[in-house]
């Protein structure tokens, strides 16, 4: 994420296939199986530069497994995954994935290191990749990253066990942003937050994405989040990505699960809320 990249506006989502340069994540023919249970089979997905892509699907359709495959935590049984033009699947040794410094990951529970303070948590990736940064600068970076995620400054000295669930998520986000990544992976960032907190978190992600020019891979069940901040939504079902597009595009499709997902009682409420909100801003 550099200024020159920020200055180029994010590619407008179009129906045409993205050109190779715009494609930050390219998944082809992915297959994941646990024993005899096939999670993914021949799954394809493209994530374009500068977009927020939401990944939805019923429980057990392998949303988290897809994310773990992309970030190299789960070795797929078949298929190729390229991130920033580098293959993840060809690498067998964890240490060889050099592009790790280009992405940040927020796990569901925050996954903060419980024996370190919030500031130390944020400093971990910085120390790992850039040992020449001085202690003072490290402390300052941790401080402003924590402030960027909306936590108060004194939270830096707290331990994860002293934080609430929502604060832990923000601290996890601060750690994910520590290296100024181009790519941000978020696993259910708003799950377990109150509606006000969840809406604030949505705006936080959108704001950071616009300011920092991030590409965001977002797993969520939160229909409001999908409406509010996602440029495109990928639907996981039947072991594949069955559709990718904006919500109106998805609604035009005649797939029973998509229809039920977006047109169920909760889906309708979220759509109505989104329409009201956009009318107010218009």
């Amino acid at each position: 994420m550099t200024a020159s990249e920020i200055d180029t506006p994010p590619a407008e989502p179009t129906d045409a296939a993205a050109s190779p340069d715009d494609c930050l994540i390219r998944v082809r023919g992915l297959r994941n199986e646990f024993g005899s249970y096939v999670v993914h089979d021949n799954l394809d997905l493209d994530v374009r530069r500068g977009e927020i892509i939401g990944v939805v699907g019923g429980s057990g359709t392998g949303k988290s497994v897809l994310m773990r495959s992309i970030i190299g935590l789960q070795i797929p049984d078949a298929g190729t995954i390229e991130v920033l033009g580098q293959s993840i699947t060809a690498v067998r040794d964890d240490a060889d994935i050099a592009i790790r410094s280009h992405w940040g990951v927020l796990f569901q529970g925050g996954a903060l290191f419980s024996t370190l303070t919030v500031a130390e948590n944020v400093e971990v990736p910085l120390r790992e990749f850039y040992p020449e940064i001085s202690e003072e600068l490290l402390a300052e970076i941790a401080h402003f990253k924590v402030l960027l995620t909306g936590l108060p400054g004194d939270a830096t000295l707290k331990y994860p066990s002293e934080l609430s669930g929502g604060m832990r998520k923000r601290a996890g986000l601060a750690r994910a942003l520590a290296l100024d990544p181009e790519l941000l992976f978020l696993d259910e960032p708003t799950a377990g937050l109150d509606p006000i907190g969840a809406a604030a978190f949505d705006q936080l992600i959108k704001g950071l994405q616009q300011t920092l020019g991030l590409t965001v891979f977002l797993i969520t069940h939160d229909l409001d989040t999908l409406h509010e901040i996602c440029d495109r939504v990928a639907v996981l079902a039947d072991r594949q990505v069955i559709a990718v597009g904006t919500i109106p595009e998805l609604l035009a499709l005649d797939h029973p699960w998509i229809q039920e997902y977006f047109n169920g009682p909760r889906g309708r409420a979220a759509t109505a809320a989104w329409h009201r909100a956009s009318e107010r801003t218009a």
Partner: protein, 370 residues
């Protein structure tokens, strides 16, 4: 690759102009930041015209310089300006807080004090824990239908049956060693035959139960602490409470009772394996036939030696299980605590078992079971 960032100072009216060039990125800034901090002359302007790439860390350094010196930032690109604005918005003007460690001459007494206070309050908590356990046991005795038979038998299997292999092997080998070493010494007096007395009395009275207790502390006591500690961390214990299942009844008592019951059994088993080991060595290298060795044991070992071992068994079992369960249930904060608590459980259990064993030795001699 991005170019290395650098700076030049151009003197001007009212202060210098700091001209930054190159890529101001987290990956390249480490050395530059140290040099920028060394600048002492006043700065009036920060010129970013020569910066070809910038990220939040680069923007932060500009922000900090401008805040600390009052300098104006000029010629920032759109992206750089957006980052700097975002940082200005969130910057609360406070310095980054770091944990300040006390100087060593204060830290040592402080830690010592903490430890002493911790020991005292720990003793009170142990007492409370034992009390809770006794109450839970009383409740279960009045309502026997609530006794968790399945959990109890499962723990008995884990603590007792699954330990048979390793305890058997260990005792067999120790039996061989005692017989071997004893025989070497006793041979000097022509008294090898007393090797049988040595092996029989030592294993039944002392070593069988003591080594079993140490092995169980390492195998099961540590497992109790780690299991319960992890369950505390993942809020499983809280979940149990809310469902109306008392953790004392469901988690602690089955483990304690299983260990108390299994310990004397394992102790006797260990003693038997030790005697077999001694008899094996007698057969192989001392010329005492295997079964003669076993028959002699019956004649030279007084019955009260067996009782001594059997009496110590449940006491040691209680200590090992209590230490494990208590430490496990004390875990509150983090993963590291599970580790330290588990260590504490094992160390405390082994230490206490050895100290008590010494007391038992004196006691039984005094009452005439020498």
């Amino acid at each position: 690759m991005s170019t290395k960032p650098d700076f030049t100072l151009t003197p001007g009216e009212g202060g210098d102009t700091l001209v930054l060039t190159g890529a101001m990125l987290v990956s390249t800034l480490g050395a530059l930041d140290v040099r920028l901090r060394a600048i002492t002359t006043p700065i009036a302007q920060i010129d970013l015209a020569g910066v070809d790439a910038i990220d939040t860390v680069g923007a932060w350094i500009c922000c900090r310089l401008s805040r600390d010196t009052g300098a104006a930032i000029v010629h920032a690109g759109d992206g750089a300006q957006r980052l700097i604005d975002a940082l200005h918005r969130v910057d609360d003007g406070h310095e980054a807080q770091t944990v300040r460690l006390l100087p060593v001459w204060l830290r040592v007494p402080a830690n010592t004090g903490d430890t002493v206070v911790g020991l005292l309050s720990g003793a009170v908590r142990v007492l409370g824990f034992v009390g809770q356990m006794v109450i839970a046991a009383g409740t279960l005795l009045r309502h026997p239908s609530r006794i968790r038979g399945k959990a109890l038998t499962h723990q008995m299997e884990l603590v007792g049956v699954n330990a048979l292999g390793i305890i058997g092997l260990m005792s067999f080998l120790v039996g061989i060693v005692i017989a071997q070493q004893g025989a070497v010494e006793l041979q000097q007096f022509g008294a090898e035959v007393y090797t049988i007395n040595l092996v029989g009395r030592l294993t039944l009275r002392e070593l069988g139960i003591l080594m079993t207790a140490i092995m169980v502390a390492g195998r099961s006591g540590s497992a109790f602490a780690a299991e319960l500690g992890t369950m505390k961390l993942t809020e499983e214990v809280d979940a149990m409470r809310t469902i109306g299942v008392a953790p004392m009844e469901a988690l602690v008592l089955p483990r304690v009772v299983a260990t108390v019951v299994m310990m004397p059994l394992l102790g006797v088993y260990s003693a038997v394996m030790g005697i077999i080991g001694g008899a094996f060595l007698g057969q192989v290298s001392l010329g005492i036939p295997f079964f003669t060795f076993l028959t002699r044991i019956r004649l030279v070992v007084p019955t009260y030696d067996v009782w001594v071992g059997l009496i110590k068994g449940p006491v040691f079992g209680l200590i090992v299980a209590l230490a494990g369960c208590y430490q496990g249930m004390q875990v509150k904060a983090n993963a590291e605590e599970v580790g330290t608590r588990t260590t504490a459980a094992v160390v405390f259990a082994i230490f206490t078992v050895i100290v008590l064993d010494a007391f038992f030795a004196v006691f039984f001699t005094e009452v005439g079971w020498g």
